[in-house]
Structure formats: C-alpha cells, structure tokens
Symmetry: C2
Subunit: 312 residues, 2 copies
C-alpha cells in the first residue's frame, strides 16, 4: 500500500510493482536528499542536478569534475551550487551522489565516494553499461552497500553542462540494475527517485541482462551510425538529406565515451555486429537477385518493428 | 545577366550558375504555369502542389492516382483543385506536370503524359533514382523533349497527401539530372522552378552520377536502418530510446517504394552494402582487440564527418 500525502510533487508517483515484496514504499516516498554531489556534471549529470532541483528546490548540489572548466561551466549554467576541489571534497557527508563519468573511470570513483558519503547515502550512476561496473563496485563491500546502478535511456550527441536540461528524463525509460549485494531499500529508493526526476518508466534488470539488451537497442545502432558517417565520400556531402542526418545523428557523440562503452561491453556488441552483418548479407542477396518478394518482406518486417517500437 | 522585376516572389531567385552558357534566365524567371497536373499526389506530389500554390496562388492543379482514395484525400487536404478520371484526362493541355509515383511505374506515366500535355509543357518527377528512369524516357522522343528529371532530397517516413506540406522543400537540396536529349531551356526552367518551391540548393548531375551519390547518402542509410529495425528482439523493445529511434526512423517508410528504389539502383547499392560490411568488420576487429586506439580513431572520423555534413 502506497503512502500518500497532500504535499506530494506534481510528478508521476512511485509505482515500482515489486516494491511490496521488498518493503513498504512509504520511506522512499517521503525521502528527500539534503546534500547532493554530482561527479561529472556534463549533459547527463547536469540534467540530473536540474531535474532534482525542479523536484526539490531546497537541495544543495555540489559537483566535481577532473577538468576545472567543466565545473566552471556547470556553475555558470546554474547546474551546481558549489564545486569541490576533489571528488572526496565534493562527496563528503552527501546523502545522494550521482556519478556521471565515462564507464571506464566510473567504478573507482564510486568506491572513492562511498568512503566519505553520509552513512545512509544512496550512490547511483548513469553509465551506459552495467555488468562490469556493478561487479567492480561490489568487490568493495562499503561501495556495494550504498550503490545501486542506473541507466537513463536519454541523452544526446551534444555533451557538456551547457546542454543540460531539467526535462531530459521526462517520459524516458530508466533501467535500474541491482547487483547481488544491493540493499533492497536503496533499490526502491532509486526507482522512486527516477520517477521524481521525470522518468516515464523505471525497469529493473540484472546488470548482465541490461548489457545484452542495450547492445541491441543502443550500442549497435551507435556503431552502425558511426560506420555510415565514416563511409561518407566527401563528394557526396552536398547530397546528404534528412534521412542520412537522422540515421547518423548519434555518431556526433563523444568518441572517447563510446569507445569506453564498446570496450566494456565488447562480447555482447561483437555478437550484435555479427547479426547485423548477416542481416546486411541477406539484404544484399535479395537486392542482387532482382526479385521484389524477399526484399519487400524484409522491409515490411523492419517497418512493422519500427512502428511498434519507435512510435509513429 | 538575370532579369529582375518588381513583382518577383519572396523566394530565393534563380541562380543556376551554368545558366548563362545555356540561355538567358529571363524567360524562365517570368514563366508561370497555368494548368498543372500531379500524377501521384502523395507526400511529395502533394507538397509540390502546395508549394506551387504558395508561390503562384492562381494556378489550377489537377491530379491523378491509381487509387481513387488518394485523389479524394488530396482533394480533402486542399492539395488538388480537381481530380482526373485517368492520367490522360488529368494531364491533357497541362503546361507543368509532376510525376510523383514509385520509380518502377514512373517512366511509362511520363511517356503517357507527354502525348497529351501542352506543346510547351515541362514534365518533371521526384523519383529517388534517375539513370534507368531518364534512359527509359529518352527512348521516347516526345517524352525526352519535355522531360527533365528532378530529385528533391526531402520527404519523410509518413506517406499520403494528408502529410503534404507547402514548406517540405524549404531549404532542401534538389538534384536536377538532365539526360542526353534534355532541352536546355527546360533544364533552366526546372532549376528555377525548384527555387520558387523553396529549395535551398539546386544541383545538377548526370543521372548516373546521381544514382551513385544517392546510393551512399540515402539508399544505404535506408537499408541499414531497416536492417537494424528488423533485428530488434521483441524483449528489447521496452529498452529502446532516442538513439534507436533516430537511427531507424526512415525504416518506417513504404516497403514497396523502397523495394522499387533498391531494384532500380541495385548495382550501386550492392557496392555500398559491401563497403558497409567491410566497415563493420573493421569496427568488430577494433572492439574484439580491446585496444582503445583504433576504435577512438574510427569514432573520431565518424564524428568529424557527421558534424561537417550533418550540421550540429
């Protein structure tokens, strides 16, 4: 049974369906963070901060980034209230920490943050891969206790706090990926938090399931878009139109960030690339044959999937 | 030297750079069609009609479609002034005809239209392929004399006259593809016309060059988007986000129309598919190796191409 109160915010309320079997949702529903740190206040970390302030204006948000200019830009954009000189400085005594850095540096930062945060703190992230991150963090008992992994399926090819938006997560899907050592109360709290930040659906999977699913829905499309963009002959540039632009849009994203994702989720991505190559071989054979039947059938299946999964 | 007049419309003026060597642009610049036929008043044909009315409100626009419901929908959408019972009925005595049907039926319709149009008529099209269309039309002397091929790089995955828009071509690139028998005056007239309909750039190529360039910028991206959409496992649908949606957007287009394009431009598309497969193999090897260097380099090249060709 969910607790209700007259002072609840104008956002979708917590409805994590498995919550009843874990605990009453009432604690999480009334929880408000007091002092928050964003490690890596870029597009996603900055949007996390702005969405948090929209829900809970009284919160104090500190931030840390390896590059001092990122913190300055985040302060200029109104994303942070203050910057820390170090990760430890920013995270000390915080009761909510979001680590929004590239996936190859993220686990060590969560472990460092876990040593100085408030005892009751929740630490989460926005990383695009989960299995190796959660495994690395759970090897540290203190970090494994406070951390629950998250992946909001939102973002864009423009990075930096100057592009952060309070509504970036509105209506989006967020995947929350508890590990073997995750604290059930913090899991419920994490799901509730994303609802407060605007998420349209909060789904839970294991970290490994997440990585297999996202290899198909995000990592493969990114690589395919990048391959298309890399192939464009210079002479063809003036002949590019809206189709090429939308198909390659995500290839405008950070090469460093995506390289880290690909290396982290290598085997699942390689399996997806093999499926894609096989699918292109089938298309090639259908076109080379000159027969309409097999080609129309494949394009119809693609169209039906696109309309069902992607909306009109 | 271009003629100017106080009554010129508020659109970019004709600036086809090769025009001077063909003829003075002044005739084309003052030309206004009187009676127009749209064969296939769908998204593109309907938008051609609406853009034409925006430029020249007094024009009378007739239309013909194989399916009677298309003509009814076009009349309801205000795209056409009247429908014809047959192609010949709609095109008789017209001085401008746009054939906007799938590329496999288009040439025969141009040849039929050329037999009944006004002697001074211009006949053009909006087909996504050009070499076989122009060759087939030029085998008919009457059609070869009045026809100049066009391909506006605009459109969308939604078809039908109800989605037609007067601004569909605004700022877009249009490729005009004269054949060996094309009338130079009609070529200049076609380029000027597209400017009046809102085009941002009007480029001329041979039909064969067009097909090779568009295989890279349009046909390959379409097939890659379709392959991605066809591969999506049902279990992964809830995990789809904005990246998958934009990468696969064009796969929502008509399977019949795209099948006809692929068969028409088969060899150029097969060559592009082979390049794409080779590029994916390189990506696969870079990811499987676990080394960051080659992967970052490839993603950086993709990003640079995307930003240069696609805008921010």
């Amino acid at each position: 049974m969910m607790a209700t109160s007259g002072g609840s915010p104008p956002f979708p309320r917590f409805d994590f369906s498995a919550g009843g079997s874990l605990m009453s949702a009432s604690n999480s529903d009334h929880w408000r963070p007091r002092r928050v740190a964003i490690v890596g206040p870029g597009l996603l970390g900055g949007s996390f901060a702005l969405a948090l302030k929209r829900w809970h204006p009284a919160v104090q948000i500190l931030g840390y980034a390896r590059r001092g200019e990122t913190v300055s830009a985040a302060l200029d954009a109104g994303v942070l209230d203050a910057g820390g000189d170090s990760l430890v400085d920013a995270c000390r005594d915080c009761d909510l920490i979001c680590v929004a850095t590239p996936v190859d540096v993220l686990p060590a930062q969560v472990i460092e943050a876990a040593q100085v945060c408030a005892p009751e703190a929740l630490v989460t992230d926005v990383g695009s891969t989960k299995a190796s991150i959660v495994a690395a963090i759970e090897r540290d008992p203190a970090a494994g206790r406070v951390f629950v992994g998250s992946h909001p399926i939102a973002g864009g090819e423009k990075s930096g706090p100057e592009h952060a938006r309070a509504d970036l997560f509105d209506g989006r899907t967020v995947v929350v990926t508890p590990g073997e050592r995750s604290d059930p109360e913090r899991l419920v709290q994490t799901c509730a938090l994303w609802r407060h930040l605007g998420a349209g659906a909060v789904l839970t999977t294991t970290p490994t399931e997440h990585d297999h699913l996202l290899a198909a829905t995000s990592h493969l499309p990114h690589l395919v878009a990048a391959a298309l963009a890399a192939l464009l002959p210079e002479a063809a540039e003036p002949f590019v139109g809206p189709g090429w632009r939308s198909t390659t849009r995500v290839a405008g994203g950070s090469a460093e960030m995506w390289s880290a994702i690909c290396r982290d989720n290598g085997p699942a991505i390689v399996a997806q690339l093999d499926q894609m190559s096989a699918q292109l071989d089938l298309l090639r054979a259908a076109i080379a044959s000159g027969e309409a039947g097999p080609l129309v059938a494949m394009l119809e299946r693609a169209r039906a999937n696109r309309l069902r999964a992607g909306g009109a």
